[in-house]
């Protein structure tokens, strides 16, 4: 008889259930108050952050040499507002404005800059026992103001982007996007509305950071990704040649009824192309065949190692670079062999951000290991104590031996007799230079996008670069000489 014992005897079971429920609630509290606390409390939409933005004087943002990129002034009524050193850095530095919120590093590091968050976790957790910060922390970045200015002036009136970084540490030296915009105008309460509205209506979309958010057809610069996947998966070797060549070069290679063409036959003639020479003359047919041999699965896997397929781990938001539109029946999401063959030389549905392509160059430059890109290098408090932000590896992409073959191929593409024809002006005088140009066909009658990725010195790289000039023509016309100027300027300054 179940009910024989009184209700009192069953109370412990109910008590245990309730204690369990309270335990779950306590766990919920620790989830939001400890695990997710930092992320939520430092988000730019947090009420305390919004309130602080009206009163607290933000810390400065500095370039790698200590030059001021962003500082604060006070309006007549005492409210602080931001002033920016140069429109050239507007995209990475961003803006912080009363009316229009914030962008760029101003947004990503809002908590630190407004002093809502200390530089180390311990002082963050016990902030209430410390004297309140009357000013935020200063943010030191890896940008070089001088080279940023040079990049913007070289892009001139064209739309485009330049990303230059140190492949050994991932430090971003230059991240330029044109057209730029007047961040000071947005931040200044007197001109804020007018400036912002006219920028928003500008059809050149100057507020868009093309370096991180622009997704472009990469064209031939993507061949480096195919080379990495082919060598990394063992599907091709540096000596691989294809029996279809040079026979197919005159009339084009037919893949499932689609014809892939090339322009180098007049000067390569009957030469048998291997990885090095195919890279030097940017042979679409060799790379289409290499891509088919490598397969969609391998191409996808190695592209992911390089950062494709999801937003990059970076200080600023980035667009996701893609190999395909996804959903195709073949491995890697390809629809058919035609798409795979086209993707292998950077056409098809491949889209990549300039930052992503700079990372491809940087991975090769760093012996096959990819360092995470970063802008912020240190937080500095008022007493000058700096907490540095350490470099972080994104993992090894390719073994050193295979990587060396790609370095050799990219060097040939800049230094070689034929290569020079495609990458005119990319060579830094007196310094072995490696690279790859690209000409992204957009379909229609418009001029193609002009691309270049590369690094120098080729034997011991200290700088890697990606350049895109929207509708700048062939890679060798616009992007290659621009990259050469940037690499040279950087190496001369060291």
């Amino acid at each position: 008889m179940t009910a024989g014992r009184g209700p009192g005897r069953r109370v412990p079971a109910v008590a245990v259930a309730l204690v369990l429920a309270f335990g779950i609630i306590a766990a919920g509290s620790s989830y939001w108050q400890v695990i997710r606390a930092d992320e939520l409390a430092s988000s730019p939409t947090d009420a305390a952050m919004l309130a602080a933005a009206r009163t607290v004087v933000r810390g400065k943002i500095l370039d790698r040499d200590g030059r001021t990129l962003a500082s604060s002034r006070r309006a007549e009524d005492g409210t602080p507002y931001r002033v920016y050193a140069d429109a050239a850095v507007s995209h990475p530095v961003g803006y912080a404005a009363q009316l229009y919120g914030s962008a760029g590093l101003e947004r990503a590091y809002a908590a630190e800059l407004t002093g809502a968050r200390g530089s180390d976790p311990i002082s963050r957790a016990f902030a209430k026992f410390l004297p309140p910060l009357d000013r935020g922390l200063d943010l030191r970045t890896s940008l070089s103001l001088a080279h940023q200015r040079l990049a913007v002036s070289l892009l001139g009136n064209d739309r485009g982007a330049v990303v230059m970084l140190d492949p050994r540490t991932g430090e971003v030296l230059v991240m330029a996007s044109t057209p730029t915009f007047d961040a000071s105008g947005i931040a200044n309460p007197a001109t804020s509305r007018q400036t912002f509205e006219s920028l928003r209506e500008d059809e050149a979309s100057p507020l868009l950071d093309r370096a991180t958010l622009g997704r472009y057809v990469p064209g031939s610069v993507f061949k480096i990704v195919t080379a990495i996947a082919g060598l990394g998966s063992g599907s091709v070797s540096p000596a691989t040649t294809y029996p279809e060549q040079p026979g197919a070069e005159e009339d084009g290679l037919v893949v499932s009824g689609y014809t892939i063409k090339d322009g180098h036959h007049p000067f390569t003639g009957d030469e048998e192309l291997d990885l090095l020479s195919a890279t030097e003359v940017s042979c679409n047919i060799w790379y289409a065949l290499a891509g088919l041999d490598t397969g969609g699965a391998n191409l996808d896997a190695f592209a992911r190692r390089l950062g494709f397929g999801e937003p990059l781990p970076f200080d600023l938001p980035t667009a996701t670079s893609q190999l395909t539109n996804g959903g195709g029946p073949l491995p890697g999401g390809f629809q058919d062999d035609v798409e795979l063959a086209n993707a292998a030389y950077g056409q098809g549905e491949v889209l990549a951000t300039p930052l992503q392509m700079a990372l491809v160059a940087a991975a090769v430059a760093n012996g096959g290991e990819l360092m995470a890109p970063r802008l912020a290098t240190a937080l500095v408090d008022r007493q000058g104590r700096a907490t540095s932000i350490e470099p972080r590896s994104m993992g090894r992409v390719l073994d050193p031996a295979s990587n060396a073959a790609i370095v050799a191929a990219m060097t040939l593409a800049v230094e070689g007799e034929w290569g020079q024809l495609f990458t005119e002006g990319a060579k830094v005088p007196g310094v072995p230079t490696a690279g790859k140009s690209g000409t992204a066909q957009l379909g229609g009658s418009g001029e193609p996008h002009s691309w270049f990725i590369g690094f120098a010195p080729a034997d011991a790289p200290t700088v890697a670069i990606a350049v895109i000039v929207e509708q700048g023509g062939r890679g060798g016309e616009r992007a290659s000489p621009l990259a050469g100027r940037m690499l040279r300027a950087w190496l001369e300054a060291q």
Partner: protein
């Protein structure tokens, strides 16, 4: 019975019991007042920059109220639990601190010549609550009037609910508030006490029948005969009806959870409880399929960020408040940033006081509040398990659970563990109805803890047994 003090030296008045010292209670109350004073000091320090109490009069009045309640219990001479009052006082005191700390114009009421703000009103209600709880604790001696008139209570409760259905005014999409002339209140708060009394009386009378008279359904699954199931079915209908008509998910969940727990305590049939949960889940799914507001509530719960400025706004702001608080909080008075003079969470004083505590006192504060509820519930359940008869045991358990489960539902809602519902954090939230109802709960628990009270009249035979005159029953 009251004056049975034959060996006492000299009772003060004939017919009055001898006072009984309550040292443990006094000690705990002093600890509570000291803790509140430190909180008030922190608040004052932040507000003025000088080490002073934020609202010395308020604190003093609250402490005086506690002292009066304590003295009344001492003088009554009853052997009442000594931890219940301090635990409730701790929760009420934290609520008072929070209300004094929030913008005072969140609630303003004219009372004769005075204009009272949020903190003053909460203090007033705390005073009323202390008076009610103490009076019940001292006066309540016999269970008869509660258990004999259980159907009258149930009818009164249903009438109250019906009045709200018909005349209730809609606040925030839920029809919860009943306004009669100048008085406005939330009847579902009072209803929860009435329902617990009814459940306890009904189940105490019928528990043996419910447990042992079974009808086989499938295999080992048995249920009580339909006649005994009817009240359970009615209860389910009531709970789901509240969801549909009143749009009050929290109250429905509370009533039903407490009911199921009492059913389990009464019959010991785990299968009945699981069946009840399944029925509720099915009913809820049907409702969710039929009514868009239930769907919306669930969607907001699953992803408040999909509508950060609309339906998800309050919850997101609450989660941010918890996050800002972190482990130890930002300090009383230092948090809760205001946007254009308003706190970012509009219903912070009624639905989200835990977020305010979480921000300013941190996870430490949240855990302290949770612990206080557990202490309160533990004392109540202890009273239940040592009660002499079924009605008192079920009543004590039900009353404790009403506080414990309500706290769990709203805390879980604040922390995005379950869908958010608009019920109060018992004894902490602002609100007269809620404070009054919880005062009755604490008062009854105190009274039930008295093991020296008058023995009960022998319970009447179960109603149905009387009607049917079962063979072998009492002649």
């Amino acid at each position: 019975m009251t004056g049975r003090v034959a060996d006492a030296p000299a009772p003060a008045l004939p017919g009055f019991p001898r006072p009984r010292a309550r040292r443990r209670e006094l000690g705990l109350l002093v600890a509570v007042v000291v803790a509140l004073a430190i909180g008030s000091l922190s608040l004052g320090l932040f507000r003025t920059g000088r080490p002073e109490l934020a609202d010395p009069q308020g604190l003093l009045l609250f402490a005086a109220g506690l002292l009066v309640a304590h003295v009344a219990l001492v003088v009554s001479g009853r052997r009442l639990d000594e931890v219940l009052l301090p635990a409730a006082a701790f929760l009420g005191g934290i609520g008072l601190l929070v209300m004094e700390r929030l913008p005072q114009d969140l609630v303003v009421q004219e009372l004769g010549p005075w204009t009272l703000g949020l903190g003053d009103l909460q203090l007033l209600w705390l005073g009323v609550a202390l008076a009610v709880a103490t009076t019940i604790a001292v006066v309540y001696r016999s269970d008869r009037w509660l258990r004999l008139y259980k159907y009258t209570w149930a009818a009164a409760g249903l009438l109250l609910l019906a009045l709200t259905f018909v005349f209730g005014s809609e606040v925030n999409g839920s029809r919860l508030t009943l306004e009669i002339g100048p008085f406005a209140g939330q009847p579902s708060e009072l209803l929860k006490v009435i329902l617990v009394v009814f459940f306890a009386a009904y189940l105490a009378e019928n528990r043996v029948l419910l447990a042992d008279a079974r009808v086989r359904v499938v295999g080992p699954l048995t249920v009580p005969p339909l006649a005994y199931l009817a009240p359970i079915g009615a209860m389910l209908a009531l709970a789901l009806g509240i969801v549909v008509i009143q749009r009050d998910l929290g109250a429905a969940l509370l009533f039903y959870a407490v009911f199921l727990a009492l059913l389990f305590l009464a019959t010991g049939r785990l299968t009945d409880m699981i069946l009840g949960l399944l029925l509720f889940a099915v009913g809820f799914l049907v409702l969710a399929a039929l009514f868009p507001h239930v769907q919306e509530r669930i969607a907001t719960w699953l992803d408040p960020w999909s509508d950060p400025l609309g339906s998800g706004y309050q919850l997101i702001q609450a989660l941010h408040a918890f996050a800002r608080g972190g482990l130890v909080g930002v300090g009383l008075g230092a948090g809760l940033p205001e946007i254009a003079g308003r706190p970012p969470i509009p219903a912070i004083h009624t639905d989200f006081p835990l977020a305010a505590i979480g921000e300013e006192m941190g996870m430490t504060g949240v855990l302290a509040v949770l612990a206080a509820y557990l202490v309160l519930v533990e004392r109540g359940l202890r009273i239940a398990s040592s009660s002499r008869d079924d009605f008192r045991a079920l009543l004590a358990a039900g009353l404790s659970l009403v506080i414990g489960v309500q706290a769990a539902i709203i805390a879980g809602g604040n922390l995005k563990l379950i869908p958010l519902t608009g019920i109060t954090l018992p004894l902490v939230s602002y609100g007269g109805s809620s404070m009054l109802a919880n005062a009755i709960v604490v008062g009854l628990l105190l009274a039930l803890s008295d093991r020296g009270a008058a023995p009960l009249a022998p319970p009447r035979p179960p109603r149905l047994a009387r009607l049917r005159r079962r063979p072998g029953g009492t002649p």
